[in-house]
């Protein structure tokens, strides 16, 4: 580990209430959950954060349950727990698919859905699913709870509406009507970060979201509108190019991502055809 341990502080609250007080009074603090992103930065010496708060002991952030018709997923739910959950497999198969496409078993056993959101990577694999499912993010601070539509959560590249005194406590996913679809394209099946990742819901008005093709996860609204209005897939592929803004980077090129995104759209459309 290249980061000096002596420079790091870890607060370890036992209750959510204590955690929220610490977030308000002792911040700014970086929350630790599965540590699968934070420790990569600490190991490589690229992390700038020095003060952390460990959420691991907050039982209030665990569990998957149905509440008011929606599935409520505690922020500390790991990818393995999502994969094993009959509720998730039955009602949100695209989320189970995404969970199984992240890293490999070792990462799936540790990484959490709250962490995937909080890490703010545009390549986070559960994020297109949450976007396509119109999920909501529950944020808590000492004095309030608020629920933010997932589509409004990110405000730019690695920026979000979460205030420094807030903790992501849960994700709510309302019932999803229609066939669900998920596909991740990377260099290989396991242990790769997406070049393009897509989730789609085939309903009267389709819902389509992409990762790794813009500064944040994006809903392809114009493409959805076009398809809902009866556009052909060829036309929709053209429209899709307006919804995404990929770049050349270490993992892929903008041109490749545009082509693959269009092909994924086609695959989605043909494999979910009624």
């Amino acid at each position: 580990m290249r980061t000096a341990l002596s420079a790091l502080t870890l607060l370890r609250p036992l209750s959510l209430r204590d955690a929220l007080r610490m977030m308000r009074d002792d911040g700014p603090l970086t929350p630790l959950a599965g540590c699968t992103d934070v420790y990569v930065g600490l190991n490589l010496g690229t992390a700038s954060d020095r003060r952390f708060i460990d959420l691991a002991r907050l039982e209030a952030l665990r569990g998957i349950a149905v509440r008011g018709g929606a599935i409520r997923i505690g922020a500390l739910t790991t990818y393995s727990e999502l994969l094993r959950s009959p509720l998730v497999r039955r009602r949100l198969p695209m989320l189970a698919s995404a969970a199984g496409a992240i890293g490999a078993v070792q990462i799936q056993n540790r990484g959490t859905i709250g962490g995937n959101i909080a890490n703010m990577s545009p390549a986070g694999d559960t994020l297109p699913v949450l976007a396509a499912a119109d999920a909501r993010v529950e944020l808590r601070s000492v004095d309030r709870v608020r629920t933010v539509p997932f589509a409004l959560y990110y405000t730019g590249y690695r920026r979000s509406v979460r205030r420094t005194d807030e903790i992501i406590t849960a994700i709510e996913v309302p019932p999803v009507e229609g066939a669900q679809w998920f596909r991740k394209v990377g260099t290989h099946a396991a242990q790769s970060i997406s070049k393009v990742v897509m989730a789609g819901v085939r309903a009267e008005r389709p819902r389509i979201a992409f990762g790794s093709v813009a500064p944040t996860v994006v809903r392809a609204r114009r493409t959805e509108d076009a398809l809902a209005a009866g556009a052909t897939i060829a036309e929709a592929r053209e429209v899709l190019q307006l919804d995404i803004s990929p770049i050349d980077d270490i993992r892929s090129t903008a041109a490749y991502r545009r082509e693959v995104a269009a092909r994924l759209l086609t695959q989605f459309w043909s494999s979910t055809a009624p």
Partner: protein, 212 residues
């Protein structure tokens, strides 16, 4: 090591025995195992969760110990390659079927295989070992070893989710203690397992015991 006493002991079960470590709570489990506990069978490859060389089992589940703060194993069961004592059927099978060449990935491979439980299918093995990279074998020997040995089919897999009866656990602890040859630095004291709760309730600080 004047800083050592600044940290509260973190108590967990290590290969069936109680371990107590004074370390920064954010120290990597990997470093604590290797440097404080002297268990160097766990290897560091990439240090970013890609290669799986540092795989250990926590409560029977495979994790990358380079991405786990030691604070997160408090009260849990950690199984490292040393916990298999060189006598696990998977270890023999790896040797017999060419599942190991340079050996660096082998501890992680074997522990990932142990986590699969008995009689995994080829698909289980491919998926379960997808996070373990081997640059020598081309994986065929590894998969063959796991499939031929029937995986972790013996009750000796202490620390796995389906760990055997208390009696079996006790037996394996006792053998583990007796066979241990690794000199242990003082910052990791280990001894035969006792209910951690009893010690904590009694306010007994973890004692250090010399071992040869």
């Amino acid at each position: 090591m004047t800083t050592r006493s600044a940290f509260r002991p973190i108590v967990f079960t290590l290969n069936g025995a109680r371990a107590s470590v004074r370390a920064h709570p954010m120290a990597r489990l990997l470093d604590v195992l290797r440097e404080s506990c002297g268990l160097t069978g766990t290897k560091e490859g990439c240090g970013e969760g890609e290669c799986g060389a540092c795989t250990v089992l926590v409560d029977g589940r495979a994790v990358n110990s380079c991405l786990v703060p030691v604070a997160h194993v408090a009260g849990r069961k950690v199984l490292t390659i040393e916990g298999l004592k060189g006598r696990h059927p998977l270890q023999r099978a790896f040797a017999e079927h060419g599942g190991t060449q340079c050996g660096f990935c082998t501890p992680g491979m074997i522990l990932a295989a142990v986590a699969l439980g008995p009689h995994p299918t080829l698909e289980d093995v491919r998926r379960g070992l997808a996070g373990n990279i081997c640059r020598c074998t081309g994986y065929e020997g590894i998969y063959r070893a796991i499939l031929k040995s029937g995986g972790a089919s013996r009750a000796s897999d202490s620390g796995t989710r389906n760990a055997g009866s208390t009696r079996q656990e006790k037996t394996s602890h006792a053998k583990g203690e007796a066979r241990s040859r690794v000199p242990r630095p003082a910052s990791c004291s280990r001894r035969r397992s006792r209910p951690a709760g009893r010690l904590a309730k009694a306010g007994v600080p973890p004692r250090r015991r010399r071992r040869t």
